[in-house]
Assembly symmetry: C2
């Protein structure tokens, strides 16, 4: 079997300024095709260090990423020439590509950019369709050294284009991903521990990845076995599954709304636009989303979506009563099928013993009444509370659409919502 | 100077299932004290691979993380014994520590856990206060090999406890970061190439990092020299600098608005809440932001912020006229000092030859009139157009606050904005 390893170049990787994306992406790409990345290393933007790493690498294919940019700290091409003991020469087709790319963007082509068309004389250039920097290869005995740009989306394009043909998908090999939201990684792992054990003993690869605010579960292995594991997991945890493979939560929600010819609006306090932005992440979202309200201050909640001043005075902005009025008011005003509203304490300040930082109230207004939920995001930063809240709001609507009002608990009608003391707080989740 | 490198052990790192946290944390810790992590590498849970990595590492201090857990795939202690050519022996104080930790948690102490008290005979154990697994060191000639557990918070504790005393903070060392938005990495590098060259020749470390939609420039070195470089860069590129060190663009904008006792509102089409969400990323933003409007559909632009139907009919939603009406209308309705409005084509669909995907119109309404700008984000994905647009909108307001209306070009008054044909399109940027 052909062995492969990665060298990622950049001071930023060794100073914790940038978290590696490329070695991880290459490893994941190979694993998804049934192959294994044998090693990876990070090296500084220092020609001597790069040359040493090139000499030490023993795999059949060595993928070198980064340091091909136009700036003075991009030293990979110098190191490659030093390693290959040859000069750097201009590759005219690459120079033309770079110049035309700049021309089409009406940007100035500088002498720095010229550098990106320089290659070691013995190298074979690898054309790019996604950026300025071409890559190149060097043959060293039986080893093939491949040099790719380090910008993650360019690197990944090079991986797919130039690594893909050398590491084909193994026959009957399948990979699938399920995306969960609303339960922790330990709880998720514990709930399906027996399924995971059985799958791993049968030779499948099972990986959890916490990518807040979701947890991804990846399965890989023989096609029929993966399908069976996937079905078992969904049977147990389907209610928490908000996306799979290439379909994100907003895309899935949009598909459901389009199928029903329905629409949604938003009234947001602590997320301040984050829910509307998440809903519209997918192209074509204008089919189900027309408008939303960011009502950050109390006065805005009254003026824009009709919250009663008495409700704010008695229950406060972060309450079941206020958030239900926000949702019902926004739904009426925007004339949408559904309205999602949130009000919470994102922090870092503003918490109290009764309403600690991370407390968020949610409401979903529908033609079958308004549903309320309260969540406490514990020990979460401001940005995590806000990101988690946006996902939870969309998941609440998805649950209504896919599993019906019965999955939502008690629904309050308008009489209860607009009567200042009508609403009992629902259970914490 | 003492050199140091990292070896991180675990199949999950090489399959993209887990993103490295430990090498990044060690690198950041060292950089913050004026030291440099020279290399890092990821190695599989395979004793032969681990031994090879230990042999290849050349630094004075080699920090090995991971593979000290209780399960069968934790192979680091076996590899260390094989490398040191000695047996594994039980260290009684460590065994007592582990057993008492289990007792205090009322968990069962299994034979697997016993493994965590095994060390190569020639090793010196490193006690832990944050987990079950102790670490250990091996002296190999002049090299010191340090073995830490791989759980990130435990690893970091070991770094601070056992690396800290060996790598003290260097006197007169300074690190600073400038954040730029609105010009490309090549243009930025070309503009300050001479300053960067001089700084590097003087021994400073200069690093560029493109973190869309901003570019970070990091400077490190002797305090006075770094301050001088920083001043030179800002003299040339200050207009594009939107943040520095720990102050992000939203935080800086907030500071300016608070100082003036002013406020801002938003009317968003293509970003659909992204500008409001960015403005409120910092705690305390309610001091300058009360409400915003997400007007995704034409009907919403008319109903919520008073765009004229005739303007939409004549000029379309993505036009100077519409976006200026959105801003002026939102400012009046929300009674804010400023209003930011955007309307554009985020893609992937919706482009035309006249208004290709990536075309975005911006307006900033002020008490000195309404300013317009048009930007074309070329070859950018939907998410990049939206993220870039949100940053550009905030940068437009920051420029007004810090450099005054003169930096904005011609301002239109209400008469021009509400007259259907009054506004000539301003220049593309």
């Amino acid at each position: 079997m052909t062995t492969i390893e990665a060298i990622c170049i950049g001071d930023e990787l060794l100073e914790g300024r940038t978290r590696d994306a490329n070695a991880a992406a290459l490893g994941e790409y190979l694993a998804s095709r049934g192959h294994a990345l044998s090693r990876a290393r990070f090296v500084r933007d220092d020609p001597d260090e790069i040359v040493a790493a090139l000499r030490e690498s023993v795999a059949d294919v060595v993928v070198v990423g980064g340091g091909l940019g136009p700036t003075s700290d991009d030293r990979t091409r110098d190191a490659a020439a030093q390693f290959a003991q040859c000069d750097l020469v201009t590759h005219e087709p690459s120079l033309l590509h770079i110049a035309s790319r700049f021309a089409s963007r009406e940007q100035d082509f500088t002498s720095n950019n010229h550098r990106q068309a320089l290659f070691p004389q013995s190298a074979t250039p690898l054309p790019t369709e996604v950026g300025t920097a071409p890559g190149f290869t060097l043959q060293d005995g039986r080893r093939l050294l491949m040099f790719f740009p380090g910008v993650p989306h360019e690197y990944l394009w090079f991986v797919e284009r130039y690594i893909g043909p050398r590491f084909a998908v193994r026959a009957e090999f399948e990979r699938t991903m399920l995306v969960f939201h609303g339960l922790g990684e330990s709880a998720l792992a514990a709930t399906i521990a027996d399924i995971v054990d059985a799958a791993e003993q049968g030779g499948q690869i099972v990986g959890f990845r916490a990518a807040y605010p979701v947890i991804e579960l990846k399965l890989a292995g023989e096609r029929a076995a993966v399908a069976e594991t996937r079905a078992k997991v969904l049977e147990r945890l389907g209610d928490w599954c908000v996306g799979e493979d290439d379909e994100s939560l907003p895309a899935r929600l949009g598909r459901q709304l389009v199928a029903r010819g329905e629409s949604v609006t938003t009234a947001e306090s602590c997320t301040a636009g984050g829910i509307a932005a998440l809903l519209t992440e997918v192209g074509g979202s204008s089919a189900w989303f027309e408008r939303g309200y960011v009502t950050y201050a109390n006065a805005a909640k009254v003026a824009e979506v009709g919250v009663l001043e008495s409700t704010l005075a008695v229950h406060g902005a972060v309450s079941a009563q206020t958030v239900c009025q926000m949702a019902a008011g926004a739904r009426r005003r925007a004339d949408a099928t559904y309205a999602l509203a949130v009000s919470g304490i994102a922090g870092p300040g503003g918490g109290t013993p009764e309403k600690p930082v991370g407390t968020v109230h949610f409401a979903l207004a529908t033609n079958e009444g308004t549903f309320h939920r309260r969540v406490h995001y514990q020990r979460a930063s401001r940005s995590k509370v806000r990101a988690g809240t946006a996902y939870t709001a969309l998941a609440m609507l998805l649950a209504f659409l896919e599993r019906g009002p019965a999955s939502m608990g008690h629904a309050w009608d308008d009489h209860e919502i607009w009567a200042p003391t009508g609403i009992p707080a629902s259970e914490e989740t």
